[in-house]
């Protein structure tokens, strides 16, 4: 990443000026709140990425197994906390099942990716951390969607669920339409992304790699691995998480424990 094409700090700061015109237009349209939120968002993004950049430099320099695994664990915990809170669910009751699902789905695919890439050493931060980050980030959205959709549709149409359950359906039989609906709404965006990738937009990671100096074909190979991994781990996580959630949130009589849903999102 040296020579022509490298971005200097001062130049980048000047580049922030590309936001001036759009912000001015929003301001003139009377969207002052939006301008404020946008500025806060840009500020947060800058700070977070700067911090993570510095931290990753440190992590890469150390390249220690323990440190890498510790960082992975923190990413996993934060992602899991985020899933439950964004889906409006009880963090205390569902933390462990959700954590297990994400750990399982991401872990399995991560191992497969490490086997494919064969970095030296295998726990090399340069590969382990970004790959895990890509997988976790996508599992995060998938899990939030599937859980939020599932719990809200069951509570909205609880009478319909009861109608089937009390007529003799098992818990899973009566929940089947809700399970299918939730999985569909969580996985459809992924399918749409896969089908248009490369045609409409070049994926961010690939663009980054090419800009960073990689050969396009190499970048494409990485991108394919990443997309396959994302698809696999996201679907795995979503299904396992949903099934385990049902085990925790519905009792042996098939009745739902409404305390799993936080009051404000009910």
């Amino acid at each position: 990443m040296s020579g022509s094409g490298q971005i200097g700090v001062v130049e980048l700061l000047i580049f922030y000026g590309v936001l001036l015109l759009p912000l001015l237009m929003l301001w003139c349209l009377g969207l002052k709140d939006l301008v404020k939120n946008l500025l806060v968002g840009v500020g947060r993004m800058t700070l977070q990425l700067a911090m993570i950049g510095v931290y990753l430099e440190f992590l890469f320099a150390q390249n220690s197994l323990v440190l890498n695994l510790l960082w992975l664990a923190i990413m996993l915990l934060v992602a899991n906390w985020h899933i439950l809170s964004r889906a409006g669910l009880s963090i205390t009751s569902l933390f462990m099942v959700s954590l297990f699902s994400v750990f399982f789905g991401v872990g399995l695919v991560l191992v497969a990716m490490i086997v494919l890439v064969q970095p030296e050493p295998w726990f090399s931060s340069r590969y382990l951390i970004p790959l895990a980050g890509m997988l976790l980030g996508n599992c995060l959205t998938g899990n939030i969607l599937v859980l939020e959709r599932f719990y809200s549709s069951v509570s909205e149409r609880y009478e319909q669920y009861m109608g089937d359950l009390l007529l003799g359906a098992s818990r899973l039989e009566a929940l089947q339409p809700f399970i299918r609906g939730a999985l569909k709404s969580a996985i459809s965006p992924l399918v749409a992304t896969l089908s248009t990738l490369g045609l409409v937009a070049l994926p961010g990671m690939m663009t980054g790699q090419i800009l960073g100096g990689a050969e396009p074909v190499d970048a494409v190979m990485y991108q394919l691995m990443i997309m396959l991994g994302i698809a696999s781990s996201m679907i795995l996580c979503a299904i396992i998480n949903l099934m385990l959630n049902i085990r925790v949130s519905f009792d042996r009589y098939g009745l739902m424990d409404f305390s799993m849903i936080k009051a404000e999102s009910r």
Binding site: E159, Q160, M162, G163, D164, L165, L166, L167, G168, A169, S170, E173, R252, Y253, L255
Partner: protein
């Protein structure tokens, strides 16, 4: 089964979390009886009906079905012995045919095949046109959907009915058909209703109010009260 009552509640209390909705409920319902629960909305009628199907947790007391206490192990038997007709008519984009046949994919119904002749029979009994089968639930009127949920329950062939407001959306003609069919003596019926046309057809009336239940002789007066 012999002489055992179909349902027997002994000092039963139900409620959500700590708050008691009903307490001290004693009720015995025998084979062939028809019961109607009357009383103000929110008084616990629907909850009491759901309790009979294990759709509500017992807070206190004992609940027997056919002489056997209802517990986790017997809940399947209980639910697959009763035709439940819920208060909320079915809705959504599902087709009528799918709605009616879906229960036949459940394990509890696996010994019964889905027969078009059954559908035709019950549609005729309840004055529904067979052409509705290909429509989606949303295209039907409230009265049609209400009768549809009845067909779904009756197609099970079960003789015990738990029906929540079965006639609320029906015109006089359909209502007469429904009461003749369900209250004609073939079925054991436990129901909740505000509808005088249905209430007068039931043998026993129970007033559910102020956290308890009591027998009433003139239920229509209770319904008409402001």
């Amino acid at each position: 089964m012999g002489g055992h009552p179909v349902f027997q509640l002994v000092s039963v209390g139900i409620g959500v979390s700590e708050k008691a909705l009903l307490s001290g409920v004693n009720l015995t319902i025998g084979r062939g009886d028809s019961f109607v629960l009357v009383g103000p909305s929110g008084g616990g009628k629907s909850s009491l009906l759901k309790l009979l199907l294990g759709g509500f947790h017992l807070q206190a007391g004992e609940f027997f079905f056919m002489g056997r206490p209802v517990c986790q192990d017997s809940i399947k038997h209980l639910r697959s012995s009763i035709a439940y007709i819920p208060q909320q008519a079915p809705s959504g984009g599902e087709s009528v045919a799918d709605y009616l046949s879906r229960p036949f994919s459940w394990k509890a119904w696996s010994d019964r095949p889905f027969r078009n002749s059954d559908v035709e029979y019950w549609f005729q009994q309840l004055d529904l046109s067979i052409e509705l089968l290909s429509s989606s639930l949303n295209q039907l009127s409230g009265g049609q959907r209400q009768r549809l949920s009845m067909v779904r329950g009756l197609m099970t062939g079960r003789k015990i009915l738990v029906a929540d407001e079965p006639t609320s959306a029906l015109d006089d003609e359909s209502c007469r058909k429904v009461t003749d069919l369900l209250l004609g003596g073939d079925y054991t019926v436990v129901s909740a209703s505000h509808d005088p046309r249905w209430i007068t057809g039931c043998q026993h009336s129970i007033l559910v109010r102020d956290g308890g239940v009591s027998v009433v002789d003139n239920p229509i007066r209770e319904v008409m009260k402001p």
